[in-house]
């Protein structure tokens, strides 16, 4: 839950991880992120972006190095604390929504943390308002469109008022209007955001800082405006210039 923690919210030092012994997916990752930042994580397919995100929320607790979320070390005994501070919006919104109605799904997190009925109600209303889907409150989740599902999935995380929000490919399968709407909403959210995406235009519109990953290592960590103009760096690591610069 949002604790009002300011400053350093995420600290990663010399992080390495492998699914199988001897085959490192991530190698010597170092990263510090602060409250209010919006960080894009880019890289070609299969270079470890999603793995890094899942490490942050403790889904893979066996790693080497230092991993701290809002001052809590990410390990088995701390998972509950860690997950109070960090929310994860999955790429597949359909799988993220598992309760009958949007309202029930958005209330699921706060209820699990034992908040009072009034507080749950307040959080649900605020989360729905933040993503402008108050009208979908009583809707059944299976009836939603792709864009509505994505916004509902974001609301399920916002209701937990996390300090950090992780989003895995949030713009995927959204039509232009929903995409534009999502960009506007993300700009309005004040938490630290980590957004993985192949959609570099989307990253340009939502993140001021970008991290480029390749072969399990951080290749670049700096201003988005800088890397998005660096055609050589992008192409050397399996990416292309954003569409708006590529002349397509």
């Amino acid at each position: 839950m949002h604790t009002g923690v300011h400053g350093e919210l995420l600290k990663i030092e010399h992080l390495s991880f492998s699914y199988e012994k001897g085959q490192e997916v991530l190698t010597d990752i170092n990263l510090v992120a602060h409250d209010g930042e919006s960080i894009g994580i880019i890289g070609s397919n299969g270079i470890g972006k999603s793995t890094l995100m899942k490490l942050l929320v403790g889904l893979y607790p066996d790693y080497n190095g230092v991993l701290e979320v809002a001052g809590h070390t990410v390990d088995k005994k701390n998972l509950s604390h860690v997950r109070e501070h960090i929310g994860y919006v999955f790429q597949d919104s359909e799988s993220q929504l598992f309760l009958s109605t949007v309202e029930d799904d958005v209330a699921f997190g706060p209820q699990n943390y034992g908040l009072s009925k009034e507080e749950v109600e307040r959080r649900v209303s605020e989360a729905l308002a933040k993503v402008h889907i108050e009208h979908l409150r009583k809707f059944q989740t299976y009836k939603l469109s792709g864009g509505e599902k994505k916004l509902s999935a974001i609301a399920t995380i916002l209701s937990m008022e996390p300090d950090i929000i992780i989003m895995d490919e949030p713009s995927i399968a959204l039509d232009p209007r929903n995409r534009k709407n999502l960009i506007k909403i993300l700009r309005e959210i004040s938490s630290l955001k980590l957004i993985t995406s192949h959609d570099l235009d989307f990253i340009m519109d939502t993140c001021e800082r970008t991290i480029l990953l390749d072969d399990g290592r951080i290749i670049f960590d700096g201003p988005t405006s800088e890397i998005m103009h660096d055609e050589k760096l992008l192409t050397d690591h399996g990416l292309e210039l954003p569409l708006r610069f590529s002349g397509v």
């Binding site: 597949d92 799988s95 109605t101």
Partner: protein, 258 residues
């Protein structure tokens, strides 16, 4: 629409029924569950020749369908897989029990015919009462009622998760079968040679998706128990349940005088 899509649609329609705004849906789930269980126990407790009290027990499903504004035709359609089994249960009775127990004009009714009919009605009414419960009570409410009567948490969670994952598995099956049909337009159904691979793929993909659902639950503080809205018991709930329980009791005890 293929059969999987049709079945998923049916599941969605049941969910629509559960979510509608109707006073029967608003009744306390505990009361509805209790009534459903007591009704079935009462119906099956009648003897094999006790046709009259069993017919009288039809009042509950008839009330449920009419007042609950449920379509009888759709109810029967949704129960189509179970109904043939029920009808089959007593089908051999007339061959074994040939003693005449009743004469209606020239027609001799044997014990086997009577017991076949009572068995069929027992099954039929039990299924209809279960349908009324399902159509007016969401899975969350049913699980809440189960927890209230101290059914172990682990069993209730398993029921709930099976229900959740049922949709996930259905969607995957639908995607796989659609992808197959679109690339095998001249085939009628799925070739038996492809069944092994498709079922394997289906299970693996369903497991992946179920895993995402589970991870999503974990990341939102799930610790092995679903939160359920506690519902207060109102006067209407008590009157509704008491009325039906008294009626069931009256029919059950009154059969001695029939």
């Amino acid at each position: 629409m293929n059969s999987i899509e049709r079945n998923l649609n049916e599941l969605n329609k049941i969910q629509n029924l559960q979510q509608r705004s109707h006073w029967m849906n608003d009744l306390h789930p505990m009361g509805k569950l209790l009534l459903g269980v007591v009704y079935i126990l009462t119906v099956v407790s009648f003897g094999k020749y006790e046709l009259v009290p069993i017919i009288m027990m039809a009042v509950y499903p008839i009330f449920g369908f009419i007042v609950g504004e449920l379509s009888f035709r759709e109810g029967i359609y949704r129960m189509r897989l179970i109904l043939p089994l029920i009808l089959f249960v007593g089908i051999l009775n007339p061959f074994f029990d040939r003693d005449v127990v009743l004469r209606i004009g020239n027609l001799s009714v044997t014990g086997g015919m009577l017991s076949m009919l009572t068995l069929m009605l027992k099954g039929f009414f039990s299924v209809l009462s279960a349908y009324i419960l399902i159509a007016t009570t969401s899975i969350d409410d049913i699980c809440y009622a189960l927890r209230t009567i101290h059914i172990p948490k682990v069993i209730v969670i398993v029921i709930m998760l099976i229900y959740r994952y049922f949709g996930v598995m259905g969607n995957e099956a639908d995607r796989i079968s659609t992808a197959y049909r679109l690339r095998a337009p001249r085939q009628n159904g799925i070739n038996y040679k492809a069944w092994g691979t498709l079922v394997g793929q289906w299970l693996l993909r369903s497991m992946d998706r179920a895993n995402i659902v589970y991870e999503s639950m974990l990341l939102r503080g799930f610790k092995g128990d679903f939160f359920v809205h506690k519902k207060g018991v109102r006067k209407t709930d008590i009157i509704y349940v008491a009325f039906w329980l008294l009626l069931f009791a009256a029919i059950a005890f009154g059969r001695r005088f029939m």
